[in-house]
Symmetry: C2
Subunit: 352 residues, 2 copies
Amino acid sequence: MDSSYIQVTPIKQSKIDTVDFNKLDFGRVFSDYMFECDYKNGEWQTPVIKPYGPISLDPSARVFHYGQAVFEGMKAYKDDNDDIFLFRPDENLKRINKSSERLAMPAFPENYFFDGLTKLLHLEKNWIKKGFGNSLYIRPFVIATQPAISASPSEDYKFMIILSPAQAYYAGEVRVLFAEKYSRSANGGVGFAKAAGNYAAQFFPTSLAHKKGYQQIIWTDANTHEYLEEAGTMNIFFRIGDKLITAPNNDRILDGITRKSIIQLAKDNGIEIEVRPVSVAEIKDAARKGELKEIFGTGTAAVINPIVGFGHSEEDFELPKLEKSYASFFKEKLMNIQYNKSQDPYGWRVKI
Amino acid sequence: MDSSYIQVTPIKQSKIDTVDFNKLDFGRVFSDYMFECDYKNGEWQTPVIKPYGPISLDPSARVFHYGQAVFEGMKAYKDDNDDIFLFRPDENLKRINKSSERLAMPAFPENYFFDGLTKLLHLEKNWIKKGFGNSLYIRPFVIATQPAISASPSEDYKFMIILSPAQAYYAGEVRVLFAEKYSRSANGGVGFAKAAGNYAAQFFPTSLAHKKGYQQIIWTDANTHEYLEEAGTMNIFFRIGDKLITAPNNDRILDGITRKSIIQLAKDNGIEIEVRPVSVAEIKDAARKGELKEIFGTGTAAVINPIVGFGHSEEDFELPKLEKSYASFFKEKLMNIQYNKSQDPYGWRVKI
Ligand SMILES: Cc1ncc(COP(=O)(O)O)c(C=O)c1O
Ligand SMILES: Cc1ncc(COP(=O)(O)O)c(C=O)c1O
């Protein structure tokens, strides 16, 4: 890999000493450098790395008006030898380009992505802290920058990568509400894409759920609200008896990388897994019978997020506390791969 | 009205002389000033008017990642006496605040909106050109500015108004495609809001329609694709025989101000109007029987946009060319009110 074509504008002084790595709020502190690449005249220009700082845009930039923006979420991990690893980063590149396509945005070239990311992470290696659970969260994103407020695709874009140090994610006890009125996405819509607008659309219904004492919503199909799909930033698994169930991908659901890794791990560890529509009725029924053992969310930020209870139609259900949960089994398996503490038969771990 | 609290930073020199007002591309040229108001610490700060120019945001500003952004579209008109008018501007304020609420954003105060808009337009009165069809397009919008990439509502926002001179809108002959696969919005979603993300979601399907020779898509319900809802930036009316039909508002459809004005005008001018679900089957059937006389779109930008044909399921239909169309009848009625050329029994026209 020759990334010498990516020029680095040096910082004057690192701000790393001002950061308390034991007290990190997710996504609030950013590292010293950022990666930037502009799309103009029909092509991506030579990318650069420069000091993290504000960007200047015309108030008519299309991203502000038409939400033409997509993003990704990934993490860099460090092992005890100071080696740096990514987890299935090729999947993130594929997905951001799939998201971009759905929003009529140009694909980002593979070499710019990996050359840029690798160079940036090597430059910022001190921001990746050792220790199980510590990571450097990586946020690639693309925004439409053309100054024009007609409702049509932008001709200019900006691709960026910013980095934010993160500690092990602990969300507290999470209770979820199954959606009955609001929805996250439509058939034939953009739910499968990491499109910026998908997220803002969830904030208000989620704030209503908060008021009722739930931390998150599990979205149901917009049509009947009878089938459970995914949470705001996590895919969802249900364990009934010893069987694991998760909804199939479709154009409403994000094809999560953690999700597909867990499906693989389940198969290879003798855990029965069904990928099929999961109905609200079935889950409530299983809960009533005491057969619903676990619900957990999966995503890059939290890895696995166990859910302790759920509400639907004014009814509340608590889940049992298990000694040996699938959630903790998968979390350990996955993190051992991510932090280079175990074999990786899948080739998911990429040393950079 | 005392708007003296809104400080104006003067421009050095107007760029108005560099603009050819007879050759305007929609939404590409902006006037000398812009209105800006920041939301911080739980309240809107004192607004200002300053020279139009770039804004500087942290790359982690939530608008870039989560699409937390809403907007409005309005116009200022000038009559032969150089008086300036708005059309139902209270509706735009109500609607932007409704949009904001759905995206968990704070409402913008009425006095700041009208004081700011009025002061800005008086300052920019030379940018509003006389002549039927000329106008100054007004784009109020709100974006989430807090530098934090956790998926939750921003604590900081920026409200802005920018202005762009516009000529009479002529889109050429417009053929539309009725959506069969893609959709614009879900039940329980944000389709009724002018949420930024709703627009980017339409770009890709629309580009596919372009390739097939259609200029726009008429969206159908995401669930069955059997009912016609609205176009990308226009509500839609159908004329069967002498009866006018348009879809009812719901949480998927934008409550258009032009639409509701036309419903009123139809009622008061003896034109039979039905507000009810319109099925694709019914429209195709009427077209086959020669009873479908007109389809037209309605919106602030185009006022009325006649549609000359439509496609669905590999079938194409052309509409008759009428001497006396409802489209031209309503367009004239509305524009006469907007440009102070007729009585305005409704109080829609607001002189500022
Ligand atoms: C809507 C949504 N679902 C699921 C996920 C989980 O995906 P992944 O496991 O690839 O992080 C995410 C994001 O991370 C998401 O935004
Ligand atoms: C989705 C959508 N539908 C309809 C309209 C028409 O609304 P109005 O008549 O208020 O301009 C607009 C915007 O202008 C729109 O964005």
